[in-house]
């Protein structure tokens, strides 16, 4: 089978054409990122005064600035804090719900499922102001938990969808056998079922991380100082004291790093996650 699959190839003219198309596409993807990396390793003088394709005067000063200045690195810590909170909250509530959707039919299940999806469709711009007022009135403005809860708006539905897709793949007989063996539901769920969908949970966690990490509008609206995310730190620095291109580029590169690190582990599941577990 593998022999045939390799010979077949997808492209029209054969293997070589494939490689050229992929090389061009990857070049298109990586060039802007390379440019950011390139700039982050230059001094501002070099950036502004000479146009160079690679750093002639290699410097790590821009990174040192970020990693030693609390107003910069606290942004990363804040982002990490609310992303992790959001992951924990979303997974905790989505696991039982996804199980219910994958195993049982109950009154209103289809409507409920679509209603959850509608929250994934809600434009953050619509919710920015009401969120601000809601969290201010309950005294949560500028806290990590406020951002985590706000991101739950789109992350919880996503988690339910992806987990449901993975749980559907676990044969129902396993549940039935466990109940016959005398397992109670909580014990069965934690001891037997959760390990079976471990890869699904990992993939879900990755997507929760991703969508909470990349979002800016809500996290910026809901924070001012104590929980300000790195993304907002970047925009404000641009506005305030001219533009320090080198530091800005270095901050940008550092926001790419966490995603780039975890992506390797989920590479074979990314499509399944984006397809909400439906491939």
């Amino acid at each position: 089978m593998s022999d045939l699959a390799q010979k077949r190839g997808f492209a029209l003219p054969g293997v070589k054409g494939n490689a050229i198309v992929m090389a061009l596409y990857l070049l298109f993807l990586l060039l802007p990122i390379y440019w950011l990396l390139n700039m982050s390793l230059k001094t501002n003088t070099e950036i502004l005064n000479s146009f160079t394709l690679w750093p002639r005067d290699l410097t790590f000063d821009n990174y040192v600035t970020i990693l030693t200045d609390a107003s910069w690195y606290s942004g990363y810590l804040n982002s990490m804090a609310y992303v992790v909170m959001n992951m924990v909250i979303s997974l905790a509530v989505a696991l039982p719900a996804a199980y219910a959707f994958s195993r049982y039919s109950f009154m209103g299940d289809k409507h409920l499922f679509f209603w959850l999806l509608t929250n994934r469709m809600a434009p953050p711009a619509v919710f920015a102001l009401p969120f601000f007022q809601l969290y201010s009135s309950v005294g949560l403005f500028d806290t990590h938990i406020a951002v985590a809860l706000a991101h739950a708006l789109f992350n919880v539905p996503l988690a339910v969808w992806i987990l449901e897709g993975f749980m559907r793949g676990v044969p129902k007989e396993i549940d039935e056998t466990a109940y016959i063996d005398g397992y109670s539901f909580p014990r069965f769920f934690i001891r037997i079922f959760t390990p079976l969908v471990a890869s699904g949970i990992g993939v879900t966690a990755f997507f929760l991380f991703m969508f909470s990490w990349v979002e800016l509008l809500l996290s910026r609206t809901l924070t001012s100082v104590n929980a300000k995310p790195i993304a907002a730190t970047m925009t404000r620095t641009v506005g305030a004291a001219g533009i320090d291109w080198g530091v800005l580029a270095a901050a940008g590169v550092l926001t790419i790093v966490p995603g780039a690190l975890v992506i390797y582990f989920v590479r074979n599941y990314i499509a399944k996650g984006f397809a909400l577990g439906r491939v």
Partner: protein
């Protein structure tokens, strides 16, 4: 899988229901509240005509213009990203080291915070320090995305293609992977052309995931805010002011809460309506495939 009827399953769904209700229903009701009253300095005053804000927004040229730009933007990026994504997926290596490498590199843009995506393209397109802008200027092409209408649009569209085509490609790739080898062998015996293999084997098998790709890309492009805001700030003039940018300007910038709330509700309804159509088509496809 046939499911058991069990009303107690509601208890398992309850936490999700409460959490999402807290973060969705309460804010949504706030919006509704604003849309039918006159809010001033924290107090509400009843409107003579409950629907005044809605009427005002429906007559406002500003909203229709923003809607027009939004529809044009979503249509253009879908028209580019879907075929390009399929094309890339068809050219991806099937397995092994190169397949993994492609998957990892292609996913990279998806994980970059949206304002950093904006920053990357803002820098990349600058005539003085950006590779793209500098190269274009050196070639004698007049390119300035902060002042020229076409340059701004081209930049915003290429940025979105850069950012999201991989998503379509990944989904299409996953669809292609699920096609059994026997299908291709049968096609080979029938001496089917490359186009026919695509048209009658690959495309139908990809339909399900492609619907998801179209749904996701439609939803997200219709809500786009951060990336164009960072690059063009909605300009030059209003030429790249999409719905979300206009809405935030109205609500948080000018504090026109009533009209902004009416705007929000209509905006949300449009997305819901179109997404409902996609969703119905999607679930029907699912049923047909016997999931």
């Amino acid at each position: 899988m046939n499911k058991t009827v069990n009303q107690k399953a509601w208890f398992l769904v309850l936490p999700v229901l409460l959490l999402v209700a807290f973060s969705a229903v309460i804010p949504l009701m706030t919006v509704v509240n604003y849309s039918v009253q006159d809010a001033f300095a924290g107090d509400f005053y009843p409107l003579d005509d409950k629907l005044e804000w809605f009427k005002q927004m429906l007559e406002s040229e500003r909203m229709w213009d923003a809607l027009g730009r939004q529809v044009a933007f979503s249509a253009i990026i879908l028209a580019i990203e879907i075929p390009l994504g399929i094309f890339v997926a068809l050219n991806m290596p099937k397995k092994g080291f190169w397949a993994s490498l492609c998957l990892v590199l292609m996913s990279l843009p998806l994980l970059i915070p949206w304002n950093v995506v904006g920053t990357i393209w803002q820098i990349f397109g600058r005539v003085d320090i950006g590779l793209l802008g500098y190269t274009l200027a050196a070639l004698g092409i007049d390119y300035n995305y902060t002042q020229d209408f076409y340059a701004a649009w081209v930049t915003v569209i290429i940025m979105d293609v850069w950012h999201w085509t991989s998503l379509v490609a990944l989904l299409a790739y996953a669809g292609l992977q699920s096609i059994p080898d026997a299908y291709y062998q049968a096609a080979k015996i029938d001496q089917a052309s490359r186009w026919k293999v695509f048209r009658y084997i690959e495309l139908p098998k990809m339909m399900g995931v492609l619907m998801i790709a179209i749904l996701l890309r439609f939803m997200d492009s219709f809500m786009i805010y951060t990336e164009p805001f960072v690059v063009t700030g909605g300009g030059p003039g209003n030429s790249t002011t999409f719905l979300s940018i206009d809405l935030v300007k109205m609500a948080l910038g000018q504090f026109d809460l009533g009209p902004a709330a009416a705007f929000s509700i209509m905006y949300y309804l449009v997305i819901l309506l179109i997404s409902y159509v996609f969703y119905t088509v999607m679930t029907n496809l699912d049923k047909r495939d016997g999931h």
